[in-house]
Assembly symmetry: C2
Homo-oligomer: 344 residues x 2
């Protein structure tokens, strides 16, 4: 079953069939209709490998993530897949598990399969490896930072906006002792979040207490460890912001286990707003970084490069606060007492 069969049935040449399929506008509509009918009748579809071989384009987009089990990523993948398929592309997934060697192999796979473009959403670039892709002039998309090359775009996430909203939200509730659990600081994104927090704090006129800044690792275990550290200190903050939701969940766990009630005794804000955040008890207030938006921008950028339709260097991504039930007035304030009385 190939293009010849269609041509025969439609009583046209294979060139006409090909042109019809590829929507070349000069094809006689009457013949085009015949061709489409033949295609339908034979249930024909073009051989992708042959098309890719001759056209040099695979219609495959690579998506490299750090860890598919971190719930942030599946949501990203889903969005990416959806948008890509919509635009007629297929998605090749690679997960690095934070290992350079696996990243290496992912890249190799992308090159072997001839991906038209690759989105690297590991939130931490491995410069030397990626040069292989860049050298082949394969369009690339990164998050936050990227080498400066014409075939590379960056999704610039505006961490400040959401984090400022979060800090203002806490400040408005009356919090003055706010802790921050960072991600691994070698990650650019984790670093930016901490910086944004410090700036927002200053804007709100709240002094930064260095003891309230703890380094985590973007996992639940990291959050638990950070919370343990907090509990070990003399003075407890009245609110905790976390560099991502997994940390926040870990913190929530350890604090609950220690007998503290959230948000009555201590408020918690996460980051990313993964779906799990909504499912915690209490549902987590978090700062949303839309996976759908990231995915859409990433595919859009790659398409712009591949299809040569004015690709941009930077694509802005917004963040915003989503208030749920893990934040409340600090314990012992007038508002807190009034509310407690009202509930009693």
């Amino acid at each position: 079953m190939d293009i010849h069969a269609v041509a025969r049935l439609a009583r046209v040449s294979i060139a006409t069939v090909s042109r019809t399929i590829n929507r070349v506008p000069t094809v006689n509509p009457r013949l085009a209709k015949q061709v489409w009918e033949a295609i339908r009748e034979l249930n024909y579809f073009p051989n992708t490998q042959a098309r890719a071989l001759v056209s040099g384009r695979s219609r495959l987009l690579g998506l490299i993530v750090s860890e598919i089990t971190n719930p942030f990523f599946p949501e990203l993948i889903q969005g990416f897949e959806e948008v890509a398929v919509e635009s007629g592309y297929e998605v090749l997934i690679g997960s690095t598990n934070y290992e350079a060697e696996r990243m290496q192999r992912c890249i190799r796979r992308m090159m072997e399969r001839n991906a038209d473009g690759v989105a690297v959403m590991t939130f931490g670039i491995e410069q030397p490896l990626l040069d292989q892709l860049a050298d082949r002039k394969i369009p690339l998309v990164f998050v936050d930072v990227a080498p400066d090359r014409p075939e590379i775009s960056v999704l610039k996430v505006d961490y400040s906006h959401g984090i400022r909203q979060g800090v203002q939200h806490l400040a408005a509730l009356g919090h003055r002792e706010i802790a921050f659990v960072t991600g691994p600081l070698r990650l650019h994104s984790a670093h930016s979040r901490l910086e944004a927090f410090e700036e927002a704090l200053e804007e709100c006129g709240i002094p930064l207490d260095k003891r309230f800044v703890l380094e985590g690792d973007h996992t639940m275990e990291g959050g638990m460890a950070a919370a343990e550290q907090m509990l070990a200190q003399k003075k407890l903050p009245t609110a905790v912001m976390c560099s991502n939701d997994m940390l926040a969940i870990g913190v929530l766990h350890t604090l609950s286990r220690a007998g503290l009630r959230v948000p009555a005794d201590i408020s918690i804000i996460g980051f990313d707003d993964i779906r799990m955040a909504e499912m915690m008890i209490p549902p987590l207030t978090s700062i949303q970084m839309s996976r759908a938006e990231l995915a859409r921008a990433a595919v859009g950028a790659l398409r712009a490069h591949v299809e040569k339709t004015s690709p941009q260097r930077e694509y802005p991504i917004d963040t915003r606060l989503v208030v749920r039930q893990s934040t409340d007035f600090p314990k012992g304030t007038m508002e807190h007492l009034r509310k407690a009385k009202a509930e009693a």
Copy 2:
């Protein structure tokens, strides 16, 4: 950069290069070494599309899941990808979102891309659509049930074993009033789980109370609805088993919100043992169905078909209880009182 370049550098013919790459044993080892060196020096790798075109094999495996955002699936995908890549295959992901139309398009994509085999892990087959794949004699893998064809294998999940362990665990703790929140009963897997529960109950000599069987939909919202229903009834069970973890999380939510403590007032057991189960407060006792095992079996089955190495019709998958902290003695029993006293 093609096979000719390698041949030129290695001073052999392109046939020798091809044979070397494909590990044909008759190649002179000295020449083979020259070829490998040339390949390394040029950083050459074969063009996948050309290989696929001529050999008729794409080294692409399809994986169709129902919903990538349901945390069960990413873990499955990760395992699948890992095993597939290990065996030299790439993975094409499709998610149906439970929509027949999207399933249709997934299948079409798999056919267009010439997938060597497809694993359909939606836990509910859409018979008519899949005939398209079966008609093309593409190897397929299903879960639980599948049409009886030589190129199709089934992963037979032994729901009974894990569920029996769960019921026995509850019975041993002293529970007699055990509720079950089912999945959507049109899903074969949900049906099997309910059946296994009923059998296990009978084995333990516990009578089945029809009012304690509630239909959910494998989402958190479904679990919350089921818990509401439970709370509305006069008599509350002392333990709840759920057809999957998302339901259990929903139940946990609603019960907590209603002021019930888990496990002190009521015990909960989930199913699947997704990673999130461990992260709940309290960590959820659950019945594990190993994603890694499912993935390994699925890829193994597909490879066996593709590579014609004795494929089997059925591959057994085991389930087992993982006890965490959402199960305890029922409230008011001697053990419960003794424990409560000891804790006080």
